[in-house]
């Protein structure tokens, strides 16, 4: 099973972060949600590995207490 990379892997982290936040500049919440959804879909397709995606999904919400 491929492993999700959770060690630093971005060559220019500050540039990336700025680009990500700039992407949403001037957008309404609704527009931002749409842009984020498109971004997730594009990146998921690029990764193309369901195991890696599942690990990312799990970590993305592991801080949220489980509700029954």
């Amino acid at each position: 099973m491929s492993k999700l990379i959770i060690e630093p892997n971005l060559p220019r982290p500050d540039d990336f972060y700025q680009q990500l936040t700039d992407l949403h500049r001037d957008l309404t919440d609704v527009q931002s949600a749409d842009v984020n959804a498109r971004l997730i879909l594009l990146l998921s397709n690029h990764i193309g590995d369901q195991d890696v995606l599942a690990q990312a999904m799990q970590i993305a919400r592991e801080h949220i207490p489980q509700q029954d």
Binding site: A33, D34, A37, R38, I40, L41, L42, N45
Partner: protein
């Protein structure tokens, strides 16, 4: 009154059972003369098991209801002697198109391969299908279809089921070794057994309008719109049926008033908005429906088996209702025959529920996913759904995510206890538990199809490329298999026409385009064993009589 169809009225006929002093016992009684009850009846009766079918009504399905019949349905109907009539009357289609607003964003092809006898799908109103099956039953002497016979009680006895039946001339009782309940989504037999079908109800309403119009307006394809420009709802579906009737299915949302929406004065403007003012049409039938995805825990209680909607229900988007129902009866009937004739132990029947529940779960999963895409359940699902749709206009990667219904293909029963696991390596879509592939062949010099030759019994397929692939010992072994109490009738699948001196009971088919060999990843000497319902149950790279017998015994629950 329909403009294009006159509903037959079948006569109630008094049965001798009603005058018997004691309840008369029958091998199999089927409750419900809908599509599933009738496919079961034909399957059993044509294989020499007498059946009684009880139906509380005396006509076919009013309104159109099921529309899309998949290739597997047609393959099974061929075995039941009705396939050609369905195809002749139905509208053949393979292509589905998906639109977002005004743009065509995605297409799919239900049968991208050539050399199959049947297409990916036909569309046909359910009443025609039922009428053709009634006709077929009337040609079978040991099928006794009793209209206006309403089952009001069932009682399990030691080795039978006692059924209490009401008729226009009063009640009577009859006994059955086995009962098949095919009495639909609101199965009364299920309720009488104290059983439930459990699952998810979807909070959405859909309007079906069947309209008569010029067939040239649209091609015979399945067209599905997300956010249609002509309708304020989330989706619209268009399908052509026989008699120039088009099925239009509008999503109305949960708040719509079903009684209001069913009125012609409300339907006609919706259809007009869709077709444009200049297209003439007449309204044939309309209905507002909601749907559920649910199933019973077990499709059997003692000697009563549940099939079709009685056992499991899905949303309509995958055309997986009737198409899975016929796979139920296809699965059950040969097992009942074997057990009734003492050729298989009773525990063969134990495989019915797990095999078909496995299939039902796959159907429910697909149908639920489609429904969740078509009518998103929360705000974020909607955001993702709309993002997929909008990206799919310009980016092909998003198109496989667009889900307007994953249309019925037979679930492969890979977990079946009747399968013999592969010990040799094969690399093809067909696996043990899957229906055998079809393919063009010749038999006795005549063009034919493989599936038309398989079924109702165990079959073997032995692939040969020259007469030297067959020797006397091999032919002797195949003959012994063909002469067993439960025969295995082998077809020698020849790569080209050749002179083979085959003993009685062994036949040759010529794989004239090589598609059978390719689709089964066969090589010289490969052997496949198929069940009476055409499912592959075992395969091997080299024929071995002992292994074939062991696999057949396993498939018989022994």
């Amino acid at each position: 009154m329909f403009k294009t169809y006159t509903f037959p009225e079948f006569d109630y006929v008094r049965s001798a059972d009603q005058d018997a002093a004691q309840p008369v016992k029958h091998p199999v009684v089927i409750v419900g003369a809908g599509p599933m009850g009738m496919t079961a009846a034909v399957d059993l009766a044509q294989n020499d098991v007498p059946v009684v079918i009880l139906d509380d009504n005396n006509t076919v399905s009013v309104g159109s209801r099921a529309v899309c019949y998949a290739k597997r349905f047609l393959d099974i109907s061929d075995r039941l002697g009705v396939g050609q009539r369905l195809v002749d009357k139905g509208v053949t289609w393979n292509i589905g198109k998906v639109f977002l607003e005004e743009d065509h964003i995605y297409s799919f092809n239900m049968l991208p391969e050539e050399h199959h006898r049947r297409p990916g799908f036909i569309n046909l109103q359910q009443y025609y299908l039922e009428e053709y099956f009634v006709d077929r039953i009337s040609t079978l002497e040991n099928a006794d279809l009793r209209w206006k016979n309403k089952v009001v009680a069932v009682e399990h006895q030691a080795d039978s089921v006692l059924l209490s039946v009401e008729t226009p001339e009063g009640p009577y009782q009859l006994e059955a070794s086995y009962v098949i309940a095919c009495d639909g989504a609101n199965s009364k037999v299920r309720a009488m057994c104290g059983l439930e079908s459990k699952g998810q109800i979807f909070q959405d309403r859909f309007l079906i309008a069947d309209v008569i119009m010029d067939p040239k307006k649209f091609p015979p394809e399945r067209w599905f719109w997300f956010n249609p420009p002509f309708h304020e709802g989330q989706s619209t579906l268009l399908h052509r049926q026989a008699d120039n009737i088009w099925r239009i299915d509008f999503d109305l949302g949960w708040d719509a008033d079903p009684e209001e929406e069913k009125k012609p004065e409300n339907i006609i403007p919706r259809v007009k908005a869709f077709l444009g003012d200049d297209v003439e049409f007449e309204l044939e039938w309309a209905s507002v429906y909601t749907f559920t995805c649910r199933r019973m825990d077990e499709f059997r209680q003692e000697r009563i088996f549940f099939a079709g909607d009685a056992a499991h229900q899905v949303s309509p988007f995958g055309a997986r209702g009737a198409n899975s129902g016929i796979e139920d009866t296809d699965n059950l009937c040969w097992k009942l025959k074997m057990v009734l004739e003492g050729k298989a132990p009773e525990n063969l029947l134990d495989s019915y529920s797990p095999e078909r529940a496995f299939a039902a779960d796959e159907n429910i999963l697909n149908s639920t996913r489609s429904t969740d895409f078509i009518t998103p359940k929360n705000a974020v699902s909607r955001v993702f759904r709309d993002a997929v749709l909008n990206l799919s206009r310009n980016y092909t990667f998003a198109r496989p995510l667009v889900n307007s219904g994953r249309l019925s293909v037979p679930p492969f029963l890979t977990e079946s206890p009747l399968n013999t696991e592969d010990t040799d390596a094969f690399n093809c879509k067909v696996v043990p538990g899957a229906p055998c592939t079809d393919g063009s062949i010749t038999r006795n010099g005549e063009d034919d199809y493989l599936l038309s030759n398989l079924g109702n019994q165990f079959n073997g397929l032995l692939f040969v490329e020259s007469h030297s692939d067959l020797n006397a010992d091999l032919l002797q072994a195949l003959t012994e298999l063909a002469e067993q109490d439960v025969p295995v009738k082998t077809f020698v699948v020849a790569s080209h026409d050749m002179e083979l001196n085959l003993p009685e009971g062994i036949n040759m088919v010529v794989d004239k385009f090589g598609v059978v060999k390719e689709r089964l990843d066969a090589q010289r000497g490969t052997f496949y064993l198929t069940r009476p319902d055409q499912l592959v149950t075992a395969r091997m790279r080299q024929f071995d009589k002992g292994r074939v017998i062991a696999a057949q015994n396993k498939a018989l629950g022994q």
